[in-house]
Symmetry: C2
Subunit: 452 residues, 2 copies
């Protein structure tokens, strides 16, 4: 009998509660501040944008939150997701390390994003909010929310970062297939969009800009809510189904993790994957490494400041304490559109500040090179975002080889790249460029950090 390759759970092993990391942090993120007054905000301040069901999850200190049955029913369309041992990748790297990946690409839209899209649509539906507005980068998030809205019968309006809108028409068509409306951001439908277009008609857009547009559209419509695919505490809460499944699968595989790796843009896939292991790390495995991998073109953890900043470009959102490059920073159009965000989730930032999470940054060509190796050996074309985690795993596996030590490396393959073939074509034809570390732009944006 050959070595076991896949570790599959049954439907009844899907977690029935979400894991809340807050009680496990020595210094939880400080309260968000009102963008106008600079004073700490309460649930009521968020009511215009979010339903109370999600707001309460945003602020809860409870160690767990029950997952509603109606949400579990939709999770069952694709969950539990497989844990796979990357045996062929190990052989190709000739490493003593054991490499596993948790594969979230089996979801209907091919990424981890539906883990939070479904409950967000559900809680809005409960409170009669039948229109959701959102931003999307590569389109992973937008297609997830579009799927969730189709399920619960809600309207979905998406502002898609312009560079991805044109690079990845497939994602737009998928959103349309679910009945969502999609427009490129910056758009002329909002004041925020018009303001950006006035400054730069050719703006490639960014998540920060698209968020401003979606927030503005929701704030102007009492029947609408804004929906965010990352960054916020309740989004990370929802994503913890990933790490909780992983705990069961590692027990099934009979292995102890040494290094957990995920890519970070806003931080939700990494946090959902790694946070459930923080109690273990603090209790008995201080050597357990939680590694966040970010693009060198948008290095919020490795190069940013840990400070209060806006979540969007225009300054409509509350001020959040997080690792940030400055909300005015517009990252270069790297192909990992989902990672082009100027800041990092407050919970991930707090975990970094506490020394629980470390970060690495890589350029896109070395990331795509790792992705091609993974594709040829394991057969799955990873999303450019997820490829950052692949690169991180390859680096750690080669280090283990160098040190002659067997390590157990697990990374989160947060999505597949079937919608990103234009990016791979650019790489394979040698057209993919790296961007020098944008020092000047970042310094300029940092200089504009709000004073609080």
């Amino acid at each position: 009998m050959s070595e076991r390759r896949r570790f599959l759970l049954t439907e009844d092993q899907i977690p029935t509660t979400w894991f809340n990391v807050k009680p496990h942090l020595d210094v939880p993120p400080p309260a968000p501040l009102h963008p106008g007054t600079g004073q700490p905000i309460g649930p009521d301040d968020l009511a215009p944008l979010f339903p109370m069901g999600l707001i309460l999850q945003e602020v809860t200190q409870e160690p767990t939150v029950d997952i509603p049955g109606d949400v579990l029913d939709v999770y069952k369309i694709w969950r539990p997701t497989p844990l796979v041992r990357a045996i062929n990748l190990e052989k190709a790297l000739d490493t003593p390390a054991r490499i596993y990946y948790k594969y979230e690409g089996t979801s209907p839209v091919g990424s981890h994003k539906p883990n939070t899209a479904v409950p967000q649509a559900y809680y809005n539906k409960l409170e009669g909010r039948l229109r959701l507005t959102t931003e999307t980068g590569a389109g992973q998030w937008g297609s997830s929310l579009a799927m969730a809205c189709a399920h619960f019968g809600q309207t979905c309006d998406v502002w898609m970062v312009k560079v991805s809108y044109h690079q990845k028409p497939g994602r737009r068509v998928l959103m349309n297939s679910f009945g969502a409306s999609v427009r490129p951001s910056p758009s002329d439908e909002t004041e925020a969009g018009r303001k950006v277009l006035a400054m730069d008609p050719d703006s490639p857009g960014s998540l920060g800009i698209a968020i401003s547009e979606a927030v503005e559209a929701a704030a102007k419509d009492p029947g609408a809510s804004y929906s965010l695919g990352s960054v916020l505490d309740h989004v990370i809460l929802h994503q913890t189904v990933v790490g909780q499944e992983l705990e069961q699968q590692l027990a099934m595989a009979g292995v102890e993790p040494d290094i957990l790796i995920g890519c970070v843009g806003g931080g939700s896939n990494f946090a959902g994957f790694a946070f459930p292991f923080i109690p273990l790390k603090k209790k008995s495995r201080p050597d357990l490494r939680l590694v966040a991998v970010e693009p060198a073109a948008c290095p919020s953890i490795t190069k940013g400041a840990y400070a209060y900043d806006f979540g969007d470009l225009v300054g409509l959102t509350p001020l959040l304490k997080m690792h940030t490059l400055g909300s005015q920073y517009v990252p270069p159009p790297v192909h990992a559109g989902g990672l082009r965000y100027h800041a990092m989730a407050p919970l991930v930032s707090a975990a970094v500040a506490e020394g629980l999470v470390e970060a690495q940054a890589y350029h896109q060509t070395e990331v795509f090179e790792a992705a091609m190796l993974f594709t040829k050996t394991e057969g799955i074309l990873p999303a450019p975002e997820s490829s950052h985690a692949v690169k991180g795993a390859v680096v750690e596996a080669l280090r283990a080889k160098e040190e002659g030590r067997s390590k157990t490396i697990i990374f989160n393959l947060s999505g597949h790249g079937y919608f990103d073939t234009s990016s791979y074509e650019a790489y394979l034809s040698g057209k993919l460029e790296d961007y020098a570390y944008p020092e000047a732009e970042i310094a300029a944006a940092m200089a504009q950090l709000p004073q609080v």
Copy 2:
């Protein structure tokens, strides 16, 4: 506890033998005939194109064939695949029928094709054939063989039907990512391709043409084999892992099937899905229906003749007894490129002739309409080919509603449509056209059937 939605097998439940339907047919397909002499051919006649390991599987009468461990190891990258109850689709149709789908889209390239690509590459490798040539329609098959060749370290040369080559660049990039060479067919690299281009420089190509080119290229290279993604007996043999898994999953679900539905181009996904149930049908369930769904633009079973014909346009292949529209027939460029084949697998044709399999034909707009309903309710965008099976299931579910009878309908969702968004965009923007039944073209092609 809500109703069970997914039925998942464990790794050790992957079948360890392939199922051979031949011993169960009253009248197995008659022997293939030599294209030149018209005499029955033996294994040696096929040796220039195929390794002996596959030739012996092509002719075996044994009820089962063992699956090599090295092949099982690769199957484990994605098998077993899920059986899913389409609860939301049932609700949307308000039908008393229970609808399930076997989902093959979880494979690395998103379809059932790797089930045969992997063993084909493996048996060629065993006999030192390190270059494989093949044709591909939508690219599902080409990307599967490219993946298999990457795994076993073989060279892969693909002739891709020109209309799909341009409609679906994503598939080409995926093949390139696996290291395969891809060119549009008809090409000027072969006599067959040059002959077609001379007649029609704007030929959209067809599987029949692409097969001629790939066969010619392999025949001219002693170190090469030709590899076919459907039609032949050994291909169907390999695909029976699908139906054998389904048997276990239906037992797990505690349901008896009433109707099994699959789309048919060459016939391999349908056959692999449905043939393992033929013994049950003949023994105790004569009412069990096996339904093959084909495009109205290429209706080989519903409108073709059951006669000896060539498998390709130019006449390089052996003559096979099958349902055919005539090897000279070039189907209109419907978006289900994988179904644009003039004939049907001899084994499927024999099962039709024996009354074990029935067929239905639908136009592409009604097929895409069913696909959109499936996408909105079940969350998965089906491949245009697989959408024919979705349409068949919807039709049967509505009939059950009309008759007020609860039926258990299972269809094979042979692949996802993530690479086919250009087709869905055409549909959503109202640009998708149906083709009138091409009576004249088919009559002309039928008139040229070889006399044997």
